[in-house]
Amino acid sequence: MSELDYVGKRILRKDGPDKITGRAKYTMDMRLPGMLVGRILRSPCPHARILNIDTSRAEKLPGVKAVITANDTLGIKHAFVETPRYPPDQYALAANRVRYVGEEVAAVAAIDPYVAEEALHLIQVDYEEMPAVFDPIEAMRQDAPEIHPTHPKVKEPFKNIGGKTYSGWGDVETGFAQSDYMREDRFESHLRTHGYLETQVALASFEPAGKLNIWTSSQGPFIKREKLARTLGLPLSAVRVQMAYVGGAFGGKVDLYAHEFCAALLSMKAGLPVKIAATREEVFAAYRHGQPLIVEIKTGVKKDGTLLAQQIRVINNCGAYRGTGVVVIFLAWGFVMLPYRLPNLKYEGYAVYTNNPPRTAQRGHGAPQLRFALDSQLDMIAEELGMDPVEIRLKNARQPGEQLPNGDNVHNCGLVECIERAAEHTGFREKHLQNRSVGTTLDPLRRGIGIAVSSYHSGSLIYPNSSSAVVKMNDDGTLTLMTGAMDIGQGAETILSQIVAEEVQVPVDKIEVIAADTETTPVDIGSWISGNTYVTGNAAREAASVVRKKLLDLAAEELEASPEDLVLDNMRVYVAGSPGRALKYRDLFTASIRKRRGDPIIGEGHWRTMQDVPFHPSLATTKGRWSENYAFDAQVAEVEVNTETGMVRLVRAVTAHDCGFPINPLLVEGQIDGQISMALGHAFLEEVIMKDGRTLNPSWLDYHMPCIHNMAVSESIDVITETYDVGRSYRTKEVGEGLVSAILAAIANAIFNAIGVRLYSTPFTPEKILRGLGRIK
């Protein structure tokens, strides 16, 4: 790697000062003149026919400006996944039937929240209740109530199958026949919410001329624009989606939500701006959380621990509509394909409709659930074979350059180094042996250590995972970067600015970023599926390269030197060896206007995760190329188990990760710490408790997100496998969501190491520990 000035440096976040001083304005803070307050009427029934909705009393209430139901819509369905196999299955407002408690039935816009609330009470909805089902296994039975018909391509006699994916390679039967040891296990995960601090909120303003402006707390404006335009029947160009600061998302704000649609339609009807903000309770009880999976695994290995075959079935309780339910059963296959070498696989995944709220992506999107199952079972296998957990992982870990069954390649995979360094750093082998030999002691506190690994893709080939960026020079030599990418708190604008800064040699604080506005910035997929640094970053780099080249060409002319002899440095160009022969960027800007017939030095760049290939990833068969960039990591957890109370404390988490190279080590560390804290909540504390489709703990009081004093020591080790060179495309890997996964299995394995109790479901509650210890019968 050549000497770098901005990339690879610990540069403070551009949004930091605004946020820590409270000056940052979020969508929640926005107001427009004449703005109305919108509220949504939700279904109290998990499954019912809507016989009639009478809004007349609400409409007559003074202060009410608009009331909408499905009758006011075009009746166009939408969904996160919209393919010929999986056509959209959800109306923005329920028509004729509701399928979960909290489903949106009507909405009002009024002059204040009191009137809006009162208007909701005046809407009379007649429901005819229908039988409901909440458990996916029950929902699959032939005698279960039908929520949606089973997908026509599903051959098995199961009910309510929203999606099925089937994949494999090799021949599992042969693999099992050759195995020295086999075992079958079943793991379950639970429902968690994202915990974004800014609740879901949208402000819509429809102009009489036919333009819809909408600000919404999201992960990217372009997907919102497409879905809003289509469901509202507006031309794409008539919808402008913009951003303000985003108060967290973690996967929960990607898809179109009813409040966005309703704010827009109410504004169109009332002729005034309408803002709808979900309450925290609504977010808990009616919005989309992550996905609880049942993972059944049969694994065969050789005596030496080599994986030979796995048969895996994943059942996803995907809620009342498809949501991202079919994406998870697709991605789950990818989390099996990596990080271990596996010659034979038979994989089936089912997304099962139930009368729960639909689900969506959540940081890691299935990886934590899968890694918990797979890496827990691998430890059980190691235990049976008398192998060390580190050895069995090293034996099966993918090596650099390995070709994957779908045609992808792991390139400079640093997994082996991650495992070795994490183990060495923590003294894993000694501690692991030592903890086991403690035996019975009077001390109720027992220590355990565990390890697990994971891998996560960084940008993938799903439409339109491409980005473009524009970098333009300003008269004073500073830059403006225009990008469709969205900073949702992960530091996107800082990272992109560092890359532009490196290419053009303009300091980060002299780069203004205009982002995520469908009208003024170029298209970008948004901040999800972990492609931002790689895909948008390379687009910004390309755009910056154009500016760089224009500057060099012009400076060569002006300074009568060859472009190769020129050096860019801090907004000026000089001739190598003669710093006195220099021009400031602002002078070059003027020269360009003069000499280049008004060229203001603008660069455009674009990038797509990889060259398009004939075989896109298929949700149905899970075949096809997926990504060129897989990040790898090994995580070690050290826990302390109180055998009397059943409480487990994560004492230390060590993450050795191959993220290619860190563009900003400070932000990488921030991401790692954030993911450890999120995984800690996942492992021990957080659970959305539901009963019959209703949420029992819809508040921060009763949903136990960890507090600062619950945090564990988090240490990280960078395994550097890629480089950044000015003027060349780079390959780096994600660091924003893959690291919530391995640590979960590492904790489960550490608990086993401490007390010999194997946990098959998350969260790892004191009750499960005490039951495992036989203290509760």
Binding site: Y114, G646, F684, L696, N697, P766, I776
Partner: protein
Amino acid sequence: MHLPRFTYKKSDSLEETAQLLSRYDTGACLMAGGTELLPRMKYGLAMPEVLISMKRSPVSSPKIGSDGDLVLSPLMTLRAVEGSSLVRENAPLLSEAVGLVGSGEIRHMGTLGGNLCQETRCLYYNQSHSFQFKKPCFKRGGDICYSIPKGKECWAVFMGDIAPALYSLEAKVKIMSRDKTRIIPIEGLYRGDGKKPLILSPHEIIGEIFIPGSNGLRGSAFSKFSFRGGLEFAVLSVAAVLDMEDDGETCRSARITVGAVAAAPVRARCAEAGIEGKNISDRSLSEAVRQALDEIRPVPHHGQTSGFLKESLKVQIRHALSVAAGRVKKD
């Protein structure tokens, strides 16, 4: 979420508060710190026409009364109680319990009286009911219990931390109304009814809290079991006081109170009786724990099973007793 509409009244003294309560009758709610009431109002669980704020009322400092009691104003913030050296010296159990309530922010707002007068809690009840659990449960005036569907009454649980400590300290409270004043043991404040946990009539208010001094050797401990150790109500709590004979080994009298297992704090009276007159030892403490488990049946609440609560009760009582025994010293 926003507050429902109400009329706001300020009161400058306990006497004025009693007058206002009498005037507005059942339509009024008292607010001291508001940390309990305001969330309830936002959920639509309390909808007072008149909110009587006592923020302006003077708060007297802790003092030792003529009979040796520690006298506390119910309007003291929890933070003030926590920080009071007089309380720490005379009722360390209370200092310990207060320091575990909610969070620093809540303790700065919440008051002693407000904590004692908090409502019972239940996951099904403590939320708004705009689209979930719309049909009223017993506590909301209906005739079902969501938590225990076969239940014929409300099974909400009293989860305050201060009351169990005051039970074990044998505190008394002065209850005032416009026309009369009475002093009752703290245990008399609670009815043991999930639906209506307090004996206070709409006209009544807590005027003062009295904690008798201990004359002799005492050890005490408060154990609050919760999952994240802050910003949380107790899964269960135990307040233990061991009053010792002068030999420092024989228990003269014991008080063990368990919180968050029923609609009111519960004294483990058999366990107390069993330990009295005995030497404090591993064996006598274990016996006390066994007796307590026989007499206390925790109501399953907040997603916890009775099996888990029972096991936790065992561990927490044992813990509280051991710590209390270890703290025995001349007061």
